[in-house]
Amino acid sequence: MDLHVPVEKDLLLAALNAIMPRFPYFSHRIHSGFFWYYLMQNSRPLEVYEEVSAPCGHLDLRKGANGYMFKVLYTGHRIAVEYFHALTDGTGGITFLKSLVAEYLRQRGNVVEADPQVLLPDEPVDPQETEDSFAKIYRPMKSVFDLESRAFHYNPRGAHYSDDHSLISAVMNVDQVKEQAKKWSLTITEYLVCEVLSALQELQKRTVPSEKRWRPVRLSVPVNIRRIYGSKSLRNFTLFVVVGLDTNLGTYSFDEIVTSVYHQMRGKVNEKSLSLQISRNVAGRRIPLIRYAPNVLKRPLMKLLSDSYGDSIYSSVISNLGNVTLPDGMEKDVRRVDFSLSPSQKNKFALAVISAKGQLVLNITSILAHNREFERLLLVHLVRKGLKVTVDSNG
């Protein structure tokens, strides 16, 4: 969150210490055992760090942030938190950040009004906030694994890669984007998914000259399933749906992309399909053979499975956190809200969307150094649709 007021380190640390009892699950550290990873209470002191490197860098879980699975960062006018995904997801993350910033502003003398996503330090902890919702709603179902083929991955020739992610930030007016999405009877997420798929299709056309070598372009879209299951958990409770286009069937026009994405999203984002996915995910850890297999075997196997059933089958990720409301007492001091995801080695860019104060911010992080081909394709597409896009970068 970018503020209009300067950020003072000591005050920020005091705010962090004040809100931590309200987030008991966040004060855990991960411990590698013989059979599985444990979460243990972390008694080490909390710290805040100056933001010196590009966003979403490597988080050392042992020493990085005194063993905590999140890291609070600050610069002149900015407070940021980086999370390890096993700890929480976007919703949990934004709740923590909002509570932290609210407490910081409160300590500066602001009177911050109540907000469902701003948890107060003196409130009692709701047990539902720390529950494992996956385990709670799990019910055994007969499930079949759909084996998806490998998707298109952008591998430019002579590319340079860096652990310091490059970032392109595009700011748009939420109402303009909403209006554009309404033209096609889509939600903002669906509309952006269509635009990204269209850009990926174009990117494949440009970079893979032989049509025989074309692969489907797919996107992984995280879905906030709290509303569907009525969960209040601040732990990781998100599922991904994969939507895409089989470009081997030919080039898709934007109309065709819209129709396809509309039906795919509605076919996949419903309680039955999601319950099946949860059943699949949770069933694995209930099998005694897997449960009691030593970590040295489980860890490499999980890496293999994660690549085969995860990163390989989609070309990128787009996550929309939705509209972030800011309560009175906070709104006037917050200039802008950002959200970024960490790209992987296979999917070289990740897209993160967040809206606040009438602005929609689309952040594209990439491991490619000095290569903006995809970002340019996507944003030029948006400009051609009549959207006003303001672009900034970190490099």
Binding site: V52, S166, K303
Partner: protein
């Protein structure tokens, strides 16, 4: 605020260059405006790599293979201890190490013929040494070892384009001669057939191949002619082997089993000379007529 004329996007205040296409902004200062506080810290690109980090898939396979290898070696060591000697099963353990290395080479080395051939030659030698090291007495490993060196010299080293071709040929011939000398030494514990048979045969091979090469470079031959010349080189070299072997054995006859091959060589030679002459005669008359 400024706009990029190439991409059509509005640029954030203070931007001097479009982040998407790199086009420089040429506009008055009032339009470009003052730079606000940086959005995020700039990437230092201090660790820019030409290749990706090990992906999870390769990482997973590597960890799995290493885990199994370590478990297998530990099991062997414990069994050895139980039977009274830690090093009792050192050979199976060494096989596990070399076998694992064969696999890991595929995952880690750059996949090209030269790399793989070099690594696999080295690992094959190691495996053979282990296989022949019963009671630390080496018996037969020298033969495949020499064969591998020959394979490496002619199939891999000859492809090193950075080294001049003349040097490559010279080194390869030296290696060939040295290998033959070693074969002779291993078999008879002294140089017996190497000088009277090995050296002259190698000389014949080199001369015939040089003639073929000169013909290829200077004469613009057809593919058929080149194949015939290579066949001729092979047959002459084989005949010379028989010839020099008989001289070494002080036999009275000039050739024994290779006589028919010698006749074929003569026929091939005549055929090649006729083909070349006919070609020249045809060209001569063709030019005269035109």
């Amino acid at each position: 605020m400024a706009y990029c004329v190439e991409c059509g996007v509005e640029l954030a205040p203070g931007t001097q260059q479009c982040p998407l296409c790199g086009r420089k902004v040429i506009a008055p200062k009032e339009i470009i405006q003052e730079k606000e506080e940086s959005l995020f810290p700039s990437p230092s690109y201090g660790t820019v790599r030409n290749a990706l980090r090990l992906d999870k898939y390769r990482q997973g396979i590597t960890e799995l293979v290493l885990t199994f290898a370590v478990i297998a070696i530990l099991t062997l060591t414990i069994t050895g201890v139980a039977f009274g000697s830690v090093l009792m099963f050192w050979r199976p353990a060494a096989y596990i190490v070399t076998g694992t290395s064969f696999f890991l080479v595929l995952l880690f080395s750059t996949l090209n013929y030269r790399n793989i051939a070099t690594w696999y030659s080295l690992l094959t030698i190691l495996t053979l040494i282990v296989a022949d090291s019963h009671d630390l007495q080496f018996t037969w490993v020298a033969y495949p070892f020499t064969g591998l060196i020959l394979f490496y010299t002619f199939s891999v080293f000859m492809l090193y384009r950075r080294i001049p071709i003349a040097v490559r040929i010279l080194i390869s011939v030296t290696v060939l001669l040295a290998s033959l000398a070693l074969f002779d030494l291993f078999t008879h514990h002294a140089l017996t057939w190497f000088i009277p048979v090995g050296v002259p045969v190698v000389a014949v091979v080199i001369i015939t191949l040089c003639v073929t090469f000169i013909r290829y470079v200077k004469g613009n031959p057809s593919i058929t002619e080149m194949i015939l010349m290579l066949l001729l080189s092979a047959s002459i070299s084989t005949v010379s082997g028989d010839f020099f072997a008989l001289r070494w054995k002080e036999s009275d006859s000039l050739l024994s089993w290779s006589f028919s091959l010698f006749v074929i060589s003569l026929l091939l030679c005549v055929f090649i000379i006729i083909t070349m002459s006919v070609k020249k005669v045809r060209y001569y008359f063709h030019n005269k007529i035109t």
